[in-house]
Symmetry: C3
Subunit: 236 residues, 3 copies
């Protein structure tokens, strides 16, 4: 590559970085096909879009009226699902390459999974309504369910979790984990997307809460004050 | 609504989501008036603007000079207060609708509250200066008060808290809580906006600290190492 | 300053804020030279750019091919180093003014430090590869090293730490601390940039982990479940 040398010796650094990268790829037996992974930024857009779809009045457009709301929901949903389908396709190819499987039909498989995921969105909204009610009833300081929705980190974490858990159940553990880690970063609440959580689940405060992959919770109202659990065990 | 069916059955999903939404609104007795809540993104802009107003050299424009600084502060303050007034109006309407009160005079009430809030900004700066000094003196690793301001999550949390507590005291618990939850997300420090905290307050590390609504602290220098408290009790 | 009075008495507020600011500057003996500090937003851009440089396939452009990758790495590195050099210059001036030293040769000193920092980037990549391997081997739920890189907050924290520690060692404690506090905010993991951490270091979950300035760790594989340490002590 012809390039002017500048003060930092960019050319030499680029060559050294390539060498380290190639070594790493060889260790992972991926010399000729570096992995194409799902993308954090796109997944963040998907969850933001789906949050607006699920709660268009409170988390979507601020002054939407009843006449326009279905158009807003439909358009936002369409955009979010298109982005999600691309990301699902990336994970399907990644999984297939890891197990040296063939990678045909990826588009139609990604489309099928996206559709199955989308069909569950109304039930996700119902589950989140039950979580919001539990948060409102469980916190004497809460003045309205709306306050729980727009303020409480536990509701943010459960929104990410309920979406991510459905993707996890559809065979997409990487996208699911990337989503829940975004919730972890925003809330300090670390829920593995494999955890099975029934309705009406409320996490108070939250920072430091860890819910493991094999956890099975509820359906009962549970309050957690910031604490660390390797795994919340099934109820007896 | 006429719309082309696409792969995901958007039309059917939009209809189902509407149905769930209407059920939820009916449960909350809000069938014809979904709540218009304050907006997280706007409140984040308000706090960022006010932080620049309070610390224009260190958190505002990077290379501002003494001649231009008052213009910068005045303009940034004006923008932040306009946005805040709109958000305050939203909460006033929301509160009035919840208690089935009349909603007239909302603009002038929002304006009055905004002005009262703004008048306290110089004292907020003085309190934050005392917090910064406490952080600098309390942490042997700190090399300057400036380091505390631009690095320490405890100062970020106190900046949000001191602004939010004034709004809480002016009858805006929702906006106040939304602001402190943004600090909670950024710092892991969970301070209820109702907590009364005197000058020179320093939170070290911070992740997992919880200070409850009824807490009354100081004025004394206090250091908290990341730990969880349901409530920090009044000093004897 | 001529300005129309508006509802909030901006003019009076600006004057009061100036007064508080001047008092604060006088207390800090900086009346005529308010400090010019490094900037959080620019440092965030630097770390994002360097992350893409270190892992161009997985954290850089999503669909980069082998022909274009060195151009991408070279350009992104050049941009990140230019920004970093400006920030380093700001800290050098800040340090010199604090100790009332002369401030000449700042450009060439900043350039020299930037070059020295850049030369270590290939070894940073190798260390991070060892951290990723440790995370993958240490977590039975991990399906691939790639999952650790794009999901695990511990890897985010170590990426920031390994870059920041090199800047700390080059005499830039403020930039280093600002960088690690950004990781602290994103992950809940609080590592002081002065901590010396050997290869293959893995932090599981992470929220609430604190590693102090004088810590010396490894090189051994270590797993930390979210917990608080004033300081992780040197191994015997």
């Amino acid at each position: 590559m012809i390039r002017n040398h500048n003060d930092w010796g960019i050319d030499s650094l680029v060559a050294q970085l390539r060498e380290v990268r190639v070594q790493s790829l060889e260790t992972r037996h991926r010399r000729d096909k570096p992995p194409k992974l799902p993308q954090r930024k796109e997944l963040r857009n998907v969850v933001e879009g789906l949050s607006a779809v699920l709660f268009p009045n409170r988390l979507g457009l601020p002054d939407i009226n009843d006449e326009g709301i279905d158009y807003f929901v439909g358009h936002t949903l369409d955009t979010a699902l298109r982005t999600l389908q691309q990301q699902i396709r990336r994970e399907l190819v990644f999984i297939a390459e890891q197990s040296h499987s063939v990678t045909h039909n990826m588009d139609s498989r990604a489309n099928h999974i996206t559709r199955t995921f989308a069909e569950k969105l109304p039930s996700v909204r119902q589950l989140l309504d039950s979580d919001i009610t539990a948060a409102y009833q469980g916190d004497p300081a809460a003045r309205s369910p709306d306050e729980a929705l727009v303020c409480y980190p536990g509701i943010v974490a459960m929104t990410y979790h309920r979406l991510a858990h459905n993707l996890y159940s559809l065979g997409l553990p990487l996208i699911a984990r990337m989503m829940t880690e975004q919730a972890h970063s925003a809330t300090g609440i670390d829920i593995h997307p494999g955890a099975k959580i029934g309705d009406s689940f409320f996490i108070d405060h939250g920072t430091g809460v860890v819910i493991g992959e094999t956890a099975v919770i509820g359906p009962v109202k549970r309050q957690l004050l910031g604490d660390t659990f390797a795994c919340i065990k099934p109820l007896p």
